[in-house]
């Protein structure tokens, strides 16, 4: 049988261990509550950034299509969810509105005609997980419209 390296008949080492663990627990619990709050903030921030990116991406695509002339088109694939939340994108002649988790973000664009390819509505909804083609179309000889159609 092995000889013990340290003789500790009064169990002072056990006592030290317990006291150290107590302090460690107190410190850890306070750090965990701080970390939890920060993690929630990070998740919300990530969702807000992704939402803003979607709205800017769609608004930018509309601007590029409009300024590039007749026949120019851009295909956009919408993400299925934004950080686990459903969302909806609404496009009209003045900009792009994204709604997610009770919050809204808006990207302005230069006033122009927007229409749905099939229904000719001036307000178009873009749904999560679907692909869309944004196309510049000529209407009434002189004017152009940005048509959004589901791919």
């Amino acid at each position: 049988m092995h000889d013990p390296i340290i003789k500790d008949q009064l169990a002072s080492l056990n006592l030290d261990f317990l006291v150290s663990m107590l302090f460690l627990l107190i410190i850890t619990s306070s750090i965990i509550s701080i970390a939890e709050g920060r993690l929630t903030t990070v998740e919300k921030t990530e969702q807000s950034v992704e939402t803003r990116l979607i709205s800017e991406k769609v608004a930018h695509a509309i601007e590029v299509v409009y300024s590039s002339g007749e026949g120019h088109e851009i295909r956009i694939k919408m993400p299925s969810r934004l950080k686990g939340s459903d969302y909806l994108v609404k496009v009209n002649q003045s900009g792009v509105l994204v709604m997610v988790g009770g919050r809204r973000g808006y990207s302005f664009s230069y006033m122009k005609k927007i229409s749905s390819y099939n229904t000719h509505q001036t307000q178009v909804f873009m749904s999560p997980g679907k692909s869309y083609i944004i196309r510049n179309m000529k209407v009434n000889n002189n004017s152009h419209t940005v048509a959004i159609l589901e791919d």
């Binding site: 921030t45 803003r52 973000g105 808006y106 302005f108």
Partner: protein
Amino acid sequence: MKKILIVDDNQAQLPLEFLMVVGFSLIITISLVVGLSDSNELNQAMTASRTGALDGSVSDGLAMYPEDAFNEYKKDHLRLLNPSSVKIIKIDYINQGLSPVYRKTKIQLRIHASSPHLADKSDRNCMGDRINFYARKKICESFHTENLTNSFFNPAFSNNYVFTTADVRWE
């Protein structure tokens, strides 16, 4: 097995000294614990307020707002619907003593922030209100006292403190 005594202590002086040391230690520890728990609570509240202020600055910075605020800004503060740079610089607090109304120590928070590209005063007020709102909200969430306050989380409560916010100071 024969035990070796290191010290002869027939009059039990060592246990007496031990008891005295333990007694003094207890008195000191208890008085420290009261002060430390108060400091810990204030520290937790300040951390929560900083996290909340960050939430508010992210919301302001990315121009992502709840529906009612969005509709209000669409009417009167169109500039706020565009993203802007918002930075929280520091959070100060002033201890205003015991509040006779709530019977808790009243703390006023003052958040210092910066947004160099936003010059309009009323726009800044709106942004500041949002930052303050989220700071108070996070304090209430941290201490689970949402049911003690109103929908603006003003004032925010912890166990021994009541928190209000001064207008955000823009630098």
